[in-house]
């Protein structure tokens, strides 16, 4: 089994239904012949489904501090420099 496959980066997009139709079809054909990508896809699929639907990440108050915390001084400075 290969350690990496150049189609691997499409797995997340496929699971989140974000691929273009032509990329989606290409990736579907690919994972029928690539046990490495299929193993990754199968394992990630349920986890992504849980993260999306089961309320595990639902509470932004706990889950997402960026909504509430002020960025550090350095971050603010860097952001200003980039403008």
């Amino acid at each position: 089994m290969k350690k990496h496959c150049h189609y691997e980066h499409l797995i997340d997009g496929y699971l989140l239904d974000k691929l273009k139709p032509e990329d989606e079809a290409e990736f579907e054909e690919h994972y029928f012949i690539c046990p490495h990508c299929f193993a990754q896809l199968d394992e990630k699929s349920e986890i992504v489904q849980i993260l999306k639907k089961e309320g595990v990440l639902e509470n932004p108050g706990n889950a997402c501090e960026h909504d509430h915390a002020r960025p550090s001084r350095w971050r603010r400075l860097l952001a200003r420099l980039r403008r």
Binding site: L16, F38, D42, S45, E46, E54, L57, C64
Partner: protein, 169 residues
């Protein structure tokens, strides 16, 4: 795989085709929805059709068996959706019955995932929240958190590895 079928004529085609049951099931469930009770019947029809085509010589090994099965699977999914669209015009769909054993296993895995997520540092949870829950692109997450897209991937991969490790146990 193709070679295996060509060389070993005595091996029943069922053996080669059945190895693809997980991948065909995955594709069918993704297309039909995993709570659709018809998915298993559709998978069995695809497998039966594939074996029949191999036995009749319709599959001559010009493509790989994976590609051959992908084609049969895609066609069957399209047919199923067409049939259902026709049926749904006349009658509402009955509610699906989830398998209680599968449901229990899924709930257990959800609990394990939740445990890992709750133990993550906020910087990892933030990325998971924005990427998987809010479904922002990698670049959008990077802009929101003021980090590089590469850093987003690193954080997602790190968090997923921890989750996968916990779920595999």
């Amino acid at each position: 795989m193709t070679r295996m079928i060509k060389e070993d004529k005595s091996a029943p085609p069922e053996n080669a085709v059945l190895q693809y049951r997980p991948v065909i099931s995955f594709r069918v469930r993704k297309a039909l929805g995993s709570s659709n009770p018809d998915w298993e019947d559709v998978v069995n029809e695809i497998l039966t059709q594939a074996v029949a085509k191999i036995k009749s010589g319709e599959f001559r090994g010009e493509s790989s068996i994976g590609t051959f099965l992908y084609t049969i699977t895609s066609r069957r999914i399209i047919d199923y959706i067409r049939q259902k669209t026709r049926v749904l015009k006349h009658a509402p769909e009955p509610a699906p019955y989830p398998d209680p054993h599968d449901e229990m296993e899924h709930r257990e895995r959800a609990r394990q995932v939740e445990q890992v997520v709750n133990g993550l540092k906020p910087k990892f949870r933030d990325v998971l929240y924005l990427y998987y829950y809010k479904e922002l692109s990698r670049e959008e997450v990077a802009r929101t958190l003021d980090i590089s897209p590469r850093r987003v991937s690193e954080r997602v991969n790190y968090a997923l590895k921890l989750i996968q490790k916990a779920v595999r146990k």
